[in-house]
Symmetry: C2
Subunit: 222 residues, 2 copies
């Protein structure tokens, strides 16, 4: 009476991709609000969050039912476990986008600090590309693509450190900038964390595809 | 040929509790280094991290094997899925403790900023109690205890906001404090995030025990 595993697997992939699109859009909208100094995009973030939260619960329940009904083993089981973990990461990426949006709301009520937002737009772009590629790697079981995500995490960390140092100098030279510079520091931390979640997703994809754990530097030279 | 599920379940609980003790100890040591201005406790953080990373991989593999061999359903399956999620949260709490330890290393190389560390020791204590109780709730399947963890998260957020405001005022009144105050702000964010992970664990415990998802305010009045 059970449907083929491939069929339910396909539905699960689509649901994860839908969540992925929603959270990518949340990051994009939050940073758009910041860069263009507009409140409208921030409303989009709040709207998407509700949908993401609903999907988060749906995906978990679907995965539990899948395991109970199909009793998958080996690759199929690793696929579902990866989906459960990716589901959590996506929900938490959504939370980070909400935090960015809230800080942006505060910043928009203040005079503009910098015409150019230092490395923040680049950090957002990089984090979004990491997220997108980690999910594409998941649905295609594409290990080389997942590895490119891991490689990009160091660049995100580098950009975060540079922004941090520039903003600290700005605060030190002009104390009237402190509150706003702090806001930008928090936003760059949120973006770094989004990149970390994308990295976690990529690691789960590699584990799923190879049955090999590459976390914690367990990976050896190839 | 399979051992009883209860036996392997007991081993899994013990492994999760071991990880829990290691990461609690990491938080404790990092904050001890900060409060007592000593570098020695920070070395403990790095040592424990290696063990946590090994356990993280072991627990995931054990859970996968458990599902594949025992094909659990209902409560038993929810227990294993909860263990997989809690395992990720514990590993990430360890990462936060490492971040606190690194920032503390920087602060110890500077003159002391404040004799009293504002609300930070209290935040650490609260986050540790939330972590401990969320894990006790997991092994005992104790829903009322898990609920007390959820209740404490608001206090942690409140303490974080108060510290943030005090530190911002300090920076504004004396720009020589900016670097150090920023360090403390980052540490209080790390502690808040640890409390968030403990909250996630408590939510997973409630889901596991009741088969009911209380995340995202889906819970109704009882």
């Amino acid at each position: 009476m059970h449907r083929h595993f491939e069929e339910v697997e396909g539905e699960l992939k689509n649901q994860i991709l839908s969540m992925g699109s929603l959270v990518e859009d949340m990051i994009h909208s939050a940073i758009q609000g910041l860069a263009e100094r507009k409140n409208e995009p921030l409303q989009k973030v709040a709207q998407n969050e509700e949908q993401v939260n609903r999907l988060h619960i749906d995906v978990d329940n679907r995965c539990l039912n899948l395991i109970a009904l199909h009793q998958p083993t080996a690759t199929d089981l690793r696929f579902i476990i990866a989906a459960i973990k990716i589901n959590s990461d996506l929900e938490r990426i959504g939370d980070q986008a909400v935090n960015i949006s809230q800080t942006t709301g505060f910043l928009l009520a203040q005079p503009q600090l910098e015409r150019k937002l230092l490395d923040i737009p680049r950090m957002a772009e990089l984090a979004q590309s990491m997220l997108k590629d980690s999910l594409d790697a998941f649905v295609r079981k594409d290990v080389p693509l997942a590895r490119t995500v891991l490689d990009r995490d160091a660049e995100e960390d580098q950009l975060k450190s540079e922004s941090f140092n520039e903003l600290m100098q700005l605060m030190q030279s002009d104390s009237s900038t402190i509150q706003r510079a702090l806001g930008l520091i928090l936003i760059s931390r949120n973006l770094e964390r989004i990149a970390d979640h994308a990295t976690n997703i990529a690691e789960d994809v590699i584990f799923m595809a190879l049955g090999k754990d590459i976390r914690h530097h367990a990976e050896e030279a190839e």
